[in-house]
């Protein structure tokens, strides 16, 4: 039996980055074997899961890591001196270390565990926004934000009597950077922009956005929910001040996620929530808050989910993030070509820099009817406003149908989608 020190040593050994195994081409059939959920039929047809931008599927490696934690390591973290508490804490903090490497943060204490990108953005709004934003100040967001990167800032503006400014976009779904320049001024207190648009797939020029904001000394929050699962993210290279991501969109369980913040900013921040785990000492007169990251993580977190997120990060490095991204890009190009060739289909979101999301409308047919008929063919897509109603309003649409891809999708699945759309036209066209 191993001593505790030896146990710690082996656990730490697991933290050493796993070198991506070289892989010739992309063996999608082998990858698919890692995702048990994909092995099923829906309405008698093989499941074709093209709703990855809403939530992605979980590989066996992540499921097993979570199960192992629950079966063998579960206890509360940062509390007990006992064996299980130490195991749980090591695994939980190990996941933080993995995330730190995944986004290339300087220190792991800059990675705050949250329920998902929404909670991450809210944490920054409450902890940072409420502290620095006052009457007459301005917050800049973009025309293609998800509601989760609009509503918190609206709430803040309402509370502080501040003003929300919006970077407009063109019809292709690209931000108008000159207009952005015109919005920045000495009253700007924060810029909050999506890395990748969930409704249109646009990849925004984050480095440019950050650089221009920093000229005014304005910090930038990036909503990375759609980007982190599908492209390499380096927060130091982007030089962004905050970066929020959701585990459930990157092959980890729901309830996991991270908001990164530069240590100096996180240290300035007020706590998000009060409670256990975020304090150094409490008396009825005064509470001294804990250091980062604990100051911003009150209460017992979703330990199993966050450990799962750590395993998902491992999984992505094993399969090779850049290779996965290249394959997803090929798939997007193929799907775009095939769908654009169908009479009546109009692709929504035609930015030059795009990733993984294919929104479309079909002459006279409502996206919800498209979604229902595709579902009868076993094909899962999203239909609606994608929690981005201002994007729909800007483009003069009430809704779109959206297929979104992951590295486990195949060209055959794109073909099935095309056949499904032809079926929709046959029934309702």
């Amino acid at each position: 039996m191993l001593s505790r020190d030896e146990e710690m040593a082996t656990t730490l050994e697991q933290l050493i980055p796993i070198k991506p195994k070289p892989r010739e081409g992309w063996d999608v059939e082998r990858i698919r074997k890692d995702f048990p959920v994909l092995r099923q039929t829906v309405n008698g047809k093989p499941l074709v899961y093209l709703d990855n931008a809403a939530s992605s599927q979980v590989p066996v490696m992540v499921i097993e890591r979570g199960a192992q934690y629950i079966q063998q390591e579960h206890s509360n973290i940062h509390r007990g001196v006992h064996y299980l508490s130490m195991k749980a804490t090591t695994a939980y903090e190990g996941a933080r270390e993995k995330i730190k490497r995944f986004i290339n943060a300087r220190e792991s204490r800059e990675c705050i565990f949250v329920r998902g990108a929404t909670e991450g953005i809210n944490l920054v709004m409450y902890g940072y926004g409420r502290k620095v934003v006052g009457a007459g100040d301005e917050i800049i967001i973009s025309a293609m934000e998800h509601h989760s990167n609009i509503v918190p800032w609206q709430m803040l503006c309402e509370e502080k009597n501040a003003k929300l400014r919006v970077i407009p976009m063109n019809d292709a779904g690209e931000l108008l950077m000159d207009e952005y320049d015109a919005l920045l001024n000495e009253r700007t207190k924060l810029v909050a922009v999506a890395h990748v648009s969930n409704a249109l797939g646009t990849i925004n020029p984050i480095k440019e956005i950050v650089e221009r904001a920093h000229k005014y000394g304005v910090p930038v929050l990036i909503d990375g929910a759609q980007a982190a699962p599908h492209m390499p993210v380096d927060v130091q290279d982007l030089d962004c001040d905050f970066y929020a991501l959701s585990g459930h969109k990157m092959f980890a369980p729901t309830g996991s996620g991270v908001v990164y913040g530069k240590a100096a900013l996180l240290e300035q921040m007020n706590p998000f929530q009060g409670g256990g785990d975020m304090i150094k000492s409490v008396t009825f007169e005064k509470t001294i808050y804990a250091d980062l990251p604990n100051k911003l993580e009150a209460g017992t977190p979703a330990i199993a989910s966050q450990i799962g997120l750590g395993a998902a990060v491992d999984y992505l490095s094993i399969i090779g993030r850049e290779k996965a991204a290249a394959y997803e890009h090929e798939l997007l190009v193929y799907a775009t070509e095939r769908l654009a060739a169908i009479e009546g289909v109009r692709i929504i979101g035609t930015a030059r820099e795009k990733l993984g999301v294919l929104s479309f409308v079909l002459d006279d047919i409502h996206p919800h009817d498209i979604g229902t008929i595709l579902d009868l063919e076993g094909i899962a897509i999203r239909a609606g406003h994608h929690c981005a109603q201002p994007v729909m309003q800007r483009l003069g649409l009430s809704a779109t149908a959206r297929a979104s891809f992951a590295f486990y999708n195949t060209r055959q699945e794109v073909d099935a989608l095309v056949q499904g759309i032809e079926k929709v036209i046959e029934v309702l066209g």
């Binding site: 309405n43 409308v361 006279d364 047919i365 409502h366 919800h368 009817d369 229902t372 008929i373 009868l376 239909a383 609606g384 406003h385 729909m392 309003q393 003069g396 649409l397 009430s398 809704a399 079926k423 029934v427 309702l428």
Partner: protein, 155 residues
């Protein structure tokens, strides 16, 4: 019947493509707006009611684009306007509960005598729980108009 035709019955498709009474009703003395925020279906139902009788009825889809509302809600509104014209308030309310019951599975249109007639083509919608609200939205909106509520939401 194929699964797809269970929902998209030919009559439903036909009405969705050529909705009847899809217009503003100038003589209306009751109206209500119905909205399903989940899918964006958004309609106004207009009623001209005299002596507790629906003399005339119409509906109008609202939306940013041409498509506006889904096939199920359009067809349901269209067929509703056809069947309700000339009905008394009591008959309208009875039909509402039969239609609503058929879609939510609390009313068996095959065994219990009823006045649903052509509306029975919507029976298949109950197999698609996510779409039941699409079919019932025009009916809820109509009832709100009849009772002179300002707005109705199916959420």
């Amino acid at each position: 019947m194929s699964l797809v035709r269970l929902l998209y019955h030919e009559q439903i498709v036909e009405h969705s493509k050529k909705p009847r009474n899809h217009k503003r009703l100038e003589t209306a003395n009751h109206l209500a707006e119905g909205h399903n925020p989940l899918c964006g279906d958004h309609q106004i139902v207009y009623l001209q009611v005299e002596d507790d009788i629906v003399r005339d009825i119409s509906f109008l889809c609202i939306g940013a684009d041409e498509v506006k509302n889904c096939a199920i809600s359009k067809a349901s509104a269209s067929m509703m306007t056809r069947i309700l014209k000339g009905k008394t308030r009591k008959e309208v309310e009875a039909l509402f509960s039969e239609f609503h019951g058929m879609l939510t599975g609390t009313f068996d249109e095959e065994t219990v005598p009823n006045n649903l007639g052509h509306l029975k083509v919507f029976a298949g919608v109950r197999e698609f729980p996510m779409r039941v609200k699409c079919a019932t939205l025009p009916w809820h909106t109509m009832l709100a108009a009849l009772n002179e509520q300002e707005k109705v939401s199916t959420e």
